[in-house]
């Protein structure tokens, strides 16, 4: 399968990945954090203060980003480690970056034929909301929104052709 052409020419293909992205997120939170993701209210604002990004290269090129509040990030780290993690703790950055990395890996492994043709970057974590992120994406964006322990979170996949 030539993903390059298919991604560029087929919005339905990108749309069909939505359920897989959602499943990839749910599995990571279920297995690694022991919690089920809920559904946020449709008009709920997603905080931008904490963003973990993982680059994808090869047959599937783009950026996967996970956005949440610092409070939610601290809860994620606490659940992963099994100990309380404060909002100033560096482990919070590490934990959220690792979650984004696992979601990206889990997602690409669900795409038939993609596992071998796509590589992941090490995660990058940005804090603060006063920034602009401009991706060279030209083939579309997938977004999955969830409620994590009462806080809205967003996982977004921007795809390059």
């Amino acid at each position: 399968m030539n993903f390059d052409n298919e991604i560029a020419q087929s919005k339905p293909l990108l749309d069909s990945w939505g359920p897989m992205l959602e499943l990839a997120c749910r599995e990571v939170f279920d297995i690694m954090l022991g919690c089920r993701l809920g559904q946020p209210a449709p008009d709920e604002t997603i905080p931008l203060d904490f963003t973990a990004m993982v680059g994808l290269a090869g047959q599937l090129r783009g950026v996967l980003s996970l956005r949440c509040s610092p409070q939610a990030a601290a809860v994620m780290a606490s659940k992963m480690l099994g100990v309380a993690v404060g909002e100033k703790d560096e482990q919070m950055w590490d934990a959220v970056g690792e979650i984004a990395n696992m979601v990206a890996g889990n997602f690409k492994n669900k795409l038939t034929g993609m596992g071998d043709g796509c590589m992941l970057s090490v995660p990058t974590v940005i804090t603060g909301s006063d920034y602009s992120c401009r991706s060279l994406t030209d083939s579309g964006t997938l977004e999955a929104r969830f409620l994590f322990e009462g806080s809205p979170i967003s996982v977004e996949l921007q795809v390059h052709s």
Binding site: M32, M80, D94, M102, G105, G115, D116, V122
Partner: protein
């Protein structure tokens, strides 16, 4: 099962904690746990003596897990030490490549403690 010394190589300190906890939850009695943030640090950690088990990520800065495996073949104290890869890189080619250069097992993230037990316990039972 005897007490073992383990080396955990992963660029995420959180993941190193989780892997260690999973080993303990699997009932593995850890006498010592050494940690390294990449393959080069992993090789350096082995200069402190042999270990009974190595768990290693693939996608790491400085030296990745596959290069670590290659260079590990030249480390006398690591001869016969089982290495299990724990990684998000779950592609068939990565698995084949890792197994062909010495890995004895492969666990995909996300993973459960039960999966760690299933992959690691038989390797430790094989040891004298």
């Amino acid at each position: 099962m005897k007490k073992i010394k383990a080396l955990i190589v992963d660029d995420s300190s959180v993941m190193r904690r989780i892997v260690e906890r999973s080993l303990r939850q699997a009932g593995i009695d850890l006498e010592q746990v050494r940690e390294a943030g990449n393959g080069a640090e992993g090789l350096a950690a082995l200069q402190g003596g042999a270990v009974d088990l190595i768990l290693c990520d693939i996608n790491m800065p400085v030296m990745d897990g596959l290069e670590f495996l290659r260079q590990l073949q030249g480390v006398p104290s690591a001869k016969g030490t089982p290495v299990v890869m724990i990684t998000t890189e779950g592609s068939e080619s990565h698995v084949v490549q890792a197994l062909s250069i010495g890995a004895r097992g492969y666990i995909r993230k996300p993973f459960t403690p039960e999966q760690v037990k299933q992959h690691v316990t038989p390797l430790l039972e094989d040891q004298p």
